[in-house]
């Protein structure tokens, strides 16, 4: 064991380090990890927590990383300065993951390999828990709290905030709170007595989280549906989207019961599969309800045929894709942006669908709200492309912003409007914007009735196989989307003052990319930054590519799927587009972006 302070290769790192905890899944480690994150949040320190877990219920390795950043960067980092090795099976690789000069807290019963340049503290976790928790059968439940206690003492967490965090985590259930707190205190006391004080990686109270919220991403997305006015939600359980549907059920019960009758103003149906889920959404959307489903990649594949039906019959539908790593079953509990091309063009024939890319919980919320309006306005299926990192991790984020625009139901003809019209056709482009008018089933006027179909149809919705008609229809459907991209969330642009290099990211790739750009800037590489928030791209995206000599597109898939869409959108500048695609399934590490851009820029 090395001496105190020897880890300080470069002086104290206050509020600027990364912690990794290695545990076994199914042991309650998520509760312990969230107590740490809640404590940092309560202390006013910006941090991010990432749960890297297996597709398994109990017994396989799981890791939780916490990035503490006084500068507010919450992207993931590959290197970790503080490591808790709580899983015997992974102790060797966990020691490998420690940054030079870092500290490891390892169970004293584990055999550990020799490694130079780091500090290893052996902690009698079992004995601490045994003494803190007299009831043997409960020890398993609180065991993880032992490392919380050790870290609290070593990193300088405020014990009052740890206590409050435990209260929040266990919903103030007295027995659970007492047991967990006792374990934390015992472990903290042990560390104070037996470990040298640790002055390199420390936290200090701040104000960075003031006015911010701490929320699991999918819960924010679900709130977006609630405030977006969802009326029918149909879903089939699939990781990592299930928690959105489950949160939605809970939130609707709290916020959307009819105050007069106590009855629901919504319906949530657990469907028999993803096909049925989207089928119900389309049926409900046709009948005039704001309807949605939430799924992940395998579900998207199954929904392909129905997506084409919604597109072609011009029926509103909102689909959330909480992306996970494919192809096939892939890595069901690892994050990805691998569905972008699928979503944009889902289904056979010429189809195209608007896709929204939320980066954080507050945007997940606002884009869900907007998605219902856009689906109704454009009369089409729309995808909200979230991912596992956003959906299943807890984020310190901006508060959820109340929607300022009223709910938009789009061009729906009322019975009075029908009566005033001498004639009308379901698919006529009356306004020249490619968007027709629709009527809803049940409208009490015989002239409102329309029979719609997934087969060829003319502008009066009559069956048609006519060549000219089909060309006209498919052209209008394209125009309907491309001429109305202004309805979609526009990109955010941060110009680098004449920089030759442009960087593009979207969704959760934003966090690592923004930090990488900042580091590159300090190294002398100025770059403009554009964050795409929707597809099809608007003119600002195309102009951005045209203004920069080299445009790096950062995303979490192998093939640079959004980069491909970009090269198609600006073929004359296709050679400028350079893809940085990461398909490791972990939340995008800053180092991956940094190293890739550095390397490619060296070759220029």
């Amino acid at each position: 064991m090395e001496e105190e302070g020897s880890a300080a290769g470069s002086g104290p790192r206050v509020n600027d380090f990364s912690v990794q905890v290695a545990t076994v899944n199914g042991t309650g480690s998520q509760s312990a990890n969230l107590v740490l994150l809640r404590t940092l949040f309560r202390m006013g320190i910006m941090a991010s927590g990432k749960n890297l877990f297996p597709s398994n219920i109990a017994g396989l390795p799981t890791w939780f990383t916490i990035r503490v950043s006084g500068d507010g960067w919450i992207g993931s980092r590959r290197d970790h300065e503080v490591v808790v090795a709580f899983n015997r099976d992974t102790v060797t690789e966990d020691l490998e993951a420690v940054a030079e000069g870092g500290i490891v807290y390892v169970d004293d019963k584990f055999e550990t390999p020799q490694r130079e340049g780091i500090t290893v503290h052996r902690v009698p976790f079992t004995a601490i828990v045994r003494d803190a928790c007299p009831e043997a059968r409960l020890r398993k439940l609180v065991a993880n709290m032992a490392y919380v206690g050790v870290l609290a003492q070593q990193l300088g967490l405020d014990m009052n905030e740890v206590e409050a965090a435990i209260g929040a985590q266990f919903e103030n259930k007295p027995k659970a709170v007492d047991l967990n707190l006792a374990t934390v205190r015992a472990a903290s006391a042990w560390a104070a007595e037996n470990l040298p004080s640790q002055n390199v990686f420390r936290v200090e109270r701040g104000t960075a989280t003031k006015g911010k919220i701490l929320i699991e991403g999918n819960r924010a997305g679900a709130y977006g549906a609630v405030f977006g006015g969802v009326q029918v939600a149909a879903w089939y359980p699939i990781t990592p989207s299930s928690s959105l549907a489950e949160a939605l059920i809970e939130q609707l019960g709290q916020l959307r019961l009819n105050p007069d009758t106590g009855k629901a103003s919504y319906a949530v149906v657990q469907a028999e599969d993803e096909l049925a889920a989207l089928g119900m959404v389309i049926g409900a959307g046709w009948a005039g309800a704001r309807a949605m489903t939430a799924t992940s990649g395998p579900g998207i594949s199954l929904m392909a045929e129905f997506a084409g039906l919604a597109h072609f019959t011009e029926t509103p539908a909102v689909v959330v894709d909480v992306q996970r790593m494919g192809p096939s079953t892939g890595l069901p509990t690892r994050t990805s942006q691998g569905d972008v091309l699928s979503l944009a063009l889902l289904s056979h024939g010429d189809t195209m669908h608007p896709v929204l890319f939320p980066a954080g919980p507050d945007e997940y919320f606002s884009m869900m709200v907007e998605a219902f309006d856009i689906a109704a306005r454009l009369q089409t299926i729309i995808f909200v492309a979230a991912d596992l990192d956003l959906g299943m991790n807890w984020w310190i984020a901006e508060p959820l912003a109340y929607p300022e625009a009223p709910i938009d139901q789009g061009k729906v003809l009322s019975v009075e409007e029908i009566e005033r019209l001498t004639e009308w056709g379901r698919y006529r482009d009356v306004d020249g914007d490619g968007i027709p008018y629709r009527t809803l089933p049940g409208t009490p006027d015989p002239r409102a009735a329309v029979f719609i179909r997934g087969s060829g149809h003319d502008e009066n919705a009559r069956y048609s196989e006519d060549a000219g008609n089909n060309i006209k229809l498919l052209e209008r459907l394209r125009r309907k989307l491309l001429d109305n991209v202004g309805l979609l969330p526009s990109p955010t642009v941060d110009e680098g003052g004449g920089a030759k290099v442009g960087i593009v990211a979207y969704g959760t790739s934003h966090w690592a990319t923004a930090e990488a750009r900042d580091i590159l800037g300090r190294e002398g590489l100025a770059a403009s930054y554009l964050r795409i928030r929707s597809w099809p791209f608007d003119q600002r995206v195309l102009d951005f590519v045209a203004r920069h000599e080299r445009v790096y597109v950062v995303e979490q898939n192998r093939d640079g799927q959004l980069a491909q869409l970009l090269t198609v959108a600006v073929p004359e500048h296709a050679a400028r587009v350079r893809s940085i695609g990461y398909c490791g399934g972990l939340p995008l590490p800053v180092e991956v972006v940094l190293e890739s851009i550095r390397e490619q820029e060296r070759e220029v």
């Binding site: 029918v232 149909a234 149906v269 046709w286 309800a289 089933p441 049940g442 009735a449 997934g454």
Partner: protein, 348 residues
């Protein structure tokens, strides 16, 4: 004075004639059983005086799924994708509980590609009429066997079906469906009575109708031909339907007639044909079906009915107001509600 006034088309109690329930011209083959069913639907909806604008018609893909354009032009319709009508109908029924939903499907659409959705629709008891126009073959793709073709049934080409059939009615009873009927396109009177009872029902009304395909499956050796079905049809009862708006007749022969009161107040009277048949006896219905199959009989009639089973809208605890009728401002919680959400999330 004109004494023999022109015979006016008969108006129903909401002042509509049969013409108001008609649709476009059928493009099916002459003599197709499906056209008979279409006409029975038109009659039943007219006689029950259903407002056509309150009806939503849905279908999947296949010859049968074309038929919703042939009836109730004044109703909205949606012809979707193959085998997925049940999910779309479920969504529509949930969104607007005032719609009278009718889905038309075929044996391929229901018993093969759509089997998954079909069984779950029955489990949920979604309020709708679900008609299977059952001819044992895929017509639009020119005559391949479907999953309801009987073992040993022969195609025109001589190919013999070697797989056992799916019995949609037996399956529906097994899964707890609340209204299960079988009929035959050659028995219009019975079919109209069943359809009227189905309109009066709340929950899923499954009606499996043997509907011969005159082009691909109406030859000797087929067990779904007109001749075969006529020879093998075995009605379990005669159906007399008394709509809720007609004065119910009181006189009846005691012990001879069973009566079931439907959800809307209509009454269905069942007059036994041979032995007594109780359509409220689920196990009995199932046994009758199995025994009839052994005798190669096609049991027809309302095989099972349960008017007490909650439908899916009741299970979802939806109120009287259809979801789509909620004013827009009721769909978004208040700014204060979101403030409270944010405040709680700020506590960490």
């Amino acid at each position: 004075m004109a004494t023999g006034a022109e015979k006016k088309p008969q108006e129903n109690r909401i002042g509509l004639t049969i013409a108001d329930y008609k649709g476009g011209k059928s493009t099916l083959c002459g003599g197709c059983g499906h056209d008979v069913i279409t006409n029975a639907i038109i009659r039943a909806f007219h006689e029950m005086a259903v407002e056509p604008e309150k009806v939503a018609k849905l279908s999947g893909i296949g010859c049968s799924s074309k038929t919703p354009t042939y009836f109730l032009d004044r109703a909205h319709g949606f012809n979707g994708v193959h085998g997925r009508m049940p999910a779309m109908a479920t969504g529509a029924a949930i969104a607007n509980g005032r719609l009278q939903v009718i889905g038309v499907s075929g044996d391929g659409d229901t018993a093969s590609i759509g089997m998954g959705q079909f069984v779950h629709l029955l489990r949920r008891n979604v309020p709708m009429i679900y008609i299977v126009e059952n001819n044992g073959v895929y017509g639009l793709t020119k005559g391949q066997f479907s999953a309801t073709a009987d073992l040993g049934s022969k195609l025109k080409t001589g190919v013999v079906n070697e797989l056992p059939p799916v019995d949609l009615c037996g399956l529906a009873i097994e899964l707890g469906a609340s209204f299960v009927a079988r009929s035959f396109a050659g028995d219009v009177k019975q079919l109209v009575g069943i359809l009227e009872a189905a309109i009066a029902h709340r929950g899923t009304a499954l009606i499996d109708v043997i509907s011969p395909c005159v082009t691909f499956n109406n030859h000797p050796g087929s067990t779904k031909s007109y001749d075969y079905a006529k020879d093998h049809e075995a009605p379990v009862h005669q159906i007399e339907f008394v709509p809720f708006f007609d004065h119910p007749m009181v006189e009846q022969e005691p012990g001879q007639v069973r009566e079931v009161q439907m959800y809307d107040g209509s009454v269905v009277r069942f007059r036994p044909v041979e032995e007594d048949y109780d359509p409220r006896d689920r196990h009995g219905a199932w046994h009758h079906l199995k025994e009839a199959a052994v005798r190669s009989e096609i049991l027809t009639g309302i095989l099972y009915v349960d008017e007490k089973k909650p439908d899916f809208l009741q299970i979802l605890d939806l109120g009287e107001t259809p979801l789509v009728d909620f004013p827009v401002d009721k769909l978004r919680p208040s700014r204060a509600a979101l403030d409270a959400v944010n405040a709680s999330l700020m506590e960490g």
